[in-house]
Each structure stands twice: as structure tokens, then as C-alpha cells.
């Protein structure tokens, strides 16, 4: 077993052990903290497909995170009020259906956004994905039907068949299971033919084209899959907070998702998990000491970018290895 695999297993166990222990000791706060980590990690796993494997620096993934959140919020609101969504279609409080809607909506919206953005590269791509996310953000702010700027509350956490989701530990376990499934997906994808083409598109798009694979197609699919995973995380996040607002769509959120990946280690299977753990820990630990924790977060981030480019996993498990 490689050192990275061992570190990965330890991280997975640690994330599971903390809320189990907290539950045993009657400390629900730490369960919520771990749930937050799992969900943010899931969102970053999504982004890691585009950014880590494909080298696509999307600065607009908050769009999908927020859309997933609004999918959950809107469906739950209609289910709660008993008012049909449109054309007689009712809302729903069932998580599996909500997730499906979130994933499909994000995929469908990611396709046109990706199709336009992927005509460009480099800084243009960064800025265009940012701009599209802002467009959706401003739409959410100025469209009053679902709370506009104030956001939308979910009065009762949505339901999952056979599980009492209002219990913090149960909800954590759902999120944890989804995270593990997404990590499995990432792992399969990375090792597959598609993954090979995607990673080649990052390393050298001309080479990929010269063997007859159109980089655009590969990237577009990766972008959409990436958006779908991040959207799923958004739906879970809305249910965690029982609230969704435009802040989930904001560019700070997009920045945070990138930060998670870089803190953990770009392109690595457990990079987002390590990053999310570190990020939430910094937020919690610094937030306990000073109101100005973001100032120090900025300094830490600056230090990581300038001096520790492999992130936490780079530190723990050495450099990335390819077959």
C-alpha cells in the first residue's frame, strides 16, 4: 500500500470517528462540524474533477453549489406549502428525488456555460466562469419569488427513506456515505479512459488532439460531471443549514472551493477531504480566538500558495505519482 493510500484511509476514518465520538459524548456541535467538512469536501471533490484532473480553473463553481442548494430549498418549500411547482408538478421533501433534480439541473446548466467558457483558456476561462456565476447570483438576488436577497428557509429537514434525518449523526452518516461514493467516482474516473484523456488535456491539449481526441468534448463532459457533484453537495448543504441564500452562489464560495483543493492537494483523491478538514478547523480554531480570523486565514493561505504548493497531502504523502 502506498503512503498516500494509508493517509487517505486514516483521513476517512478520522472524519468518521470524530462525530461518532462526539455523539457518544453528547456533543452535537462537533457532529455538525464534521457534517460541514463532509459536504464542503464533496463540493470540492466535484471541482477537483474539473480543476485537478482537467486543469480547468473554474472560478464559478459556487453557481452549481448554490443551484443544488436552491433545488433543495425550492422543492422543500413547495412540498411544505402544498403549492405545485409549475404545471401541477408538486414539490418534494424526499432527498433522493431532490438530489436527482439538483444533479440534473446542474448538469444541464453546466453544459451551455461550459460550452461557451471552454472556447477560451487561461485567464479568460477563470473570468468567464466567474462572470457566469455572478450572473446567476444576481438573478437569485433580484428574483423575489424564493426569498431574493434574504434567502429561503427549509422548515423541516428533508427526508431520506428509513433514516431520521433530523438526528445530527444520521444526517452526518448520509453525507459521509455520499462523500465516499463521490470519492469512489473520482477514483474510477481518474483511472478510466476518459480520465486518461482528461488528464492529457491538462498536460498537453495539442497532444490529445494529435491522437484524434477533441479536447473540447472531453473538457465539457468533465465540467458537467464536476458541476453535478458540486450541485449535489449544495443540496446537502442547504439541508444541513435548513437554509439557502445567494451567499451560496457568491464568488467567495467559488474561491473557498478552490482554496479547499489547494489546501489539501490539487488533483489528489483525498485532497478535498484534507483541505476541508483543515479549512473548517482553521475557521473553528481561529474563530474561537479572534473575530478577525479571516485575516489570519488569508495569511495562512498566502503561505501555502507561496511556500507549500503540494498542500497538506503533499506534506503527508509526497508528490503525485502517475502510472
Amino acid at each position: 500500500m502506498s503512503r498516500e493510500t494509508i493517509v487517505n484511509i486514516l483521513l476517512a476514518l478520522l472524519l468518521l470517528a470524530v462525530p461518532l465520538g462526539a455523539s457518544a459524548m453528547g456533543e452535537p456541535f462537533y457532529i455538525t462540524l464534521a457534517t460541514r467538512i463532509a459536504i464542503l469536501a464533496l463540493a470540492a471533490v466535484g471541482l477537483n474533477i474539473a480543476l485537478g484532473l482537467g486543469g480547468l480553473v473554474s472560478f464559478g463553481h459556487a453557481a452549481f453549489f448554490g443551484l443544488g442548494g436552491y433545488a433543495a430549498g425550492i422543492l422543500a418549500t413547495h412540498a411544505f406549502d402544498g403549492v405545485p411547482l409549475f404545471a401541477g408538478i408538486p414539490g418534494t421533501a424526499s432527498m433522493p428525488i431532490i438530489w436527482l433534480v439538483a444533479v440534473v439541473v446542474c448538469g444541464l446548466i453546466a453544459l451551455p456555460i461550459g460550452a461557451i467558457s471552454l472556447r477560451t483558456t487561461g485567464v479568460y476561462f477563470i473570468m468567464i466562469t466567474l462572470a457566469f456565476a455572478q450572473m446567476i447570483y444576481y438573478f437569485a438576488v433580484s428574483w423575489p419569488a424564493y426569498g431574493g436577497e434574504d434567502g429561503l428557509s427549509i422548515y423541516v429537514r428533508n427526508e431520506f427513506p428509513g433514516v431520521n434525518t433530523t438526528q445530527p449523526l444520521s444526517y452526518f452518516l448520509i453525507c459521509y456515505a455520499v462523500l465516499m461514493a463521490a470519492l469512489g467516482l473520482f477514483w474510477l474516473l481518474r483511472g478510466s479512459r476518459f480520465g486518461a484523456a482528461l488528464q492529457a488535456a491538462r498536460q498537453n491539449a495539442t497532444r490529445l488532439a494529435a491522437v484524434g481526441i477533441t479536447p473540447f468534448n472531453v473538457r465539457l463532459i468533465a465540467f458537467a460531471v464536476s458541476a453535478m457533484v458540486t450541485g449535489l453537495a449544495g443540496a446537502l448543504f442547504a439541508d444541513l443549514n435548513k437554509f439557502v441564500s445567494p451567499s451560496m452562489l457568491s464568488w467567495h464560495m467559488s474561491g473557498e472551493l478552490i482554496v479547499l483543493i489547494i489546501l489539501g492537494g490539487k488533483g489528489r483523491l483525498f485532497g478535498p477531504v484534507a483541505g476541508a478538514m483543515l479549512y473548517v478547523l482553521i475557521e473553528y480554531a481561529l474563530g474561537g480566538i479572534t473575530e478577525r480570523w479571516q485575516f489570519f486565514l488569508g495569511l495562512i493561505l498566502l503561505g501555502v500558495v507561496l511556500f507549500a504548493r503540494g498542500g497538506l497531502l503533499g506534506l503527508l504523502a509526497g508528490k503525485v505519482r502517475h502510472g
Binding site: L188, R207, V211, I221, G323
Partner: protein, 249 residues
Amino acid sequence: MVEPVLEIRDLRKTFGALKATDSVSLDLRPGEIHALIGPNGAGKSTLIHQISGSFRPDSGTIRFLGQDMAGLDMAARARLGLGRSFQISSLAQEFSALRNVMLAVQARQGTSFRFFRPVMSDKSLTEPAMAMLERVGLAGRAYVAAAELSHGERRQLEIAIALALGSRAFLFDEPMAGMGPEGSKALTKFLDGLRHEAPILLVEHDMDAVFALADRISVLVYGRVIATGTVDQIRNDPEVRRAYLGEAA
């Protein structure tokens, strides 16, 4: 007369005021090695780029296997069977030599949109890829990252990739460069046999190799083809001697 595999007619390309390709016409016939020679900056690589689809010509036509290439991008041309190597090698740097070739194998199979099965344990990819590396003599370096290969080895790897594509014509841009006399000799021998698989348009500075291999030679100077002919015809062409070999007339 047999149909040429590749047919270039009146191709033109300018960079600003510079005529990099100036009314170039040439053919690549089945089974032949057609060498393209000329001084540095003559426009040889620019021509290869236009054939393979990385540059768009200003005017003129390129037909490959009877089909007009206008409007087809690089990937589409590669799928039709135009395999190329780059003068400045262009590889997936982090991937091993084997994975670089495997990428070509999956491209040829048209199976790049499969999302789950792991490639490294997939014999339908690894075996053909390894076979290509063996053909170019790079099997011993299969698991070395492309970035860590020597210049000569990268050239060999590019050729292995073109082979794995099952190319119907090869465009090789200075494959011998950086190879050393031993390597050049081995590659010359290899290309000699390869022409029976598919014809080769060979840009090369190594004149020993060119004279040993070429069925025909075209001489490019300032973007123009000043002569096309057999080795002997080119050797004795006064204009070539003047313009290219720098002789007084």
C-alpha cells in the same frame, strides 16, 4: 498512375509580411518516403502544421485520401489517419511512455468516453501500446514519465504514438534531431521498413538519412518548393545547389 495519399495544391500562408508557405504543391504517394528539406526557417514545420491542422492556410487545398481537409480540425484529421510527430516534442509530460501510447490506442479504438474501467489493468490497451514501444525500441523505458525521457527517446515515443494510431500517412518533423549517430542509424532502418505500412512525409536535416531513405525529395526555400525529384535529380539540380547548398552558380 496511383492516386496520391496526400495532395497539396497551391498552399499559401503568411505571418504578417512573411510568406512562410508560398504556393506550395506536393504529393505523397503510397509506399514512398517523400523528404522535405530546406534551410532553417524555410517553412517546413509551418507546412506540417497546416497539413495536420494546427495552422490554417490562407489559401490552397490539402486533400488526404481524396478528402478535402478544409474545415477539419487536428483531431478530426488524426482520426482519418494523419499521424504526426512534432519538431519540439509534444507529449503528456506526467504520463509514462506507456500511458502516452495507450492514449493513442484508446483514441484509435474510439473508446475515450468510457468512464469506469481502470486502464492500467486493461490488456486491450496495455498490450498494443507495449507492442508499439517494442517496435521503436522503447519498451525498456515504458514506465518512465515522458518528462524524464531523453530528447531522442521522446522522438521515438512520438513515432510509437503515430504507429499506435494506425496512421495512413506519417508526417515526421525532424525525427532524428538530438538522437546521436547510433540512434539515427537505427531510426533510418526503422523508417525504411515503415514506408510499406504508410507513406512518410519526412522533414529532416540529417542528409545521410535523407539520401538513404527518400524516394523523392522536395526542397523548400523561403516558403517555395524550388525543386522536387529523386535523390539524384536533386543532387544535380543547379538551382538547389545554388540556393540550398550555397554554391556559386
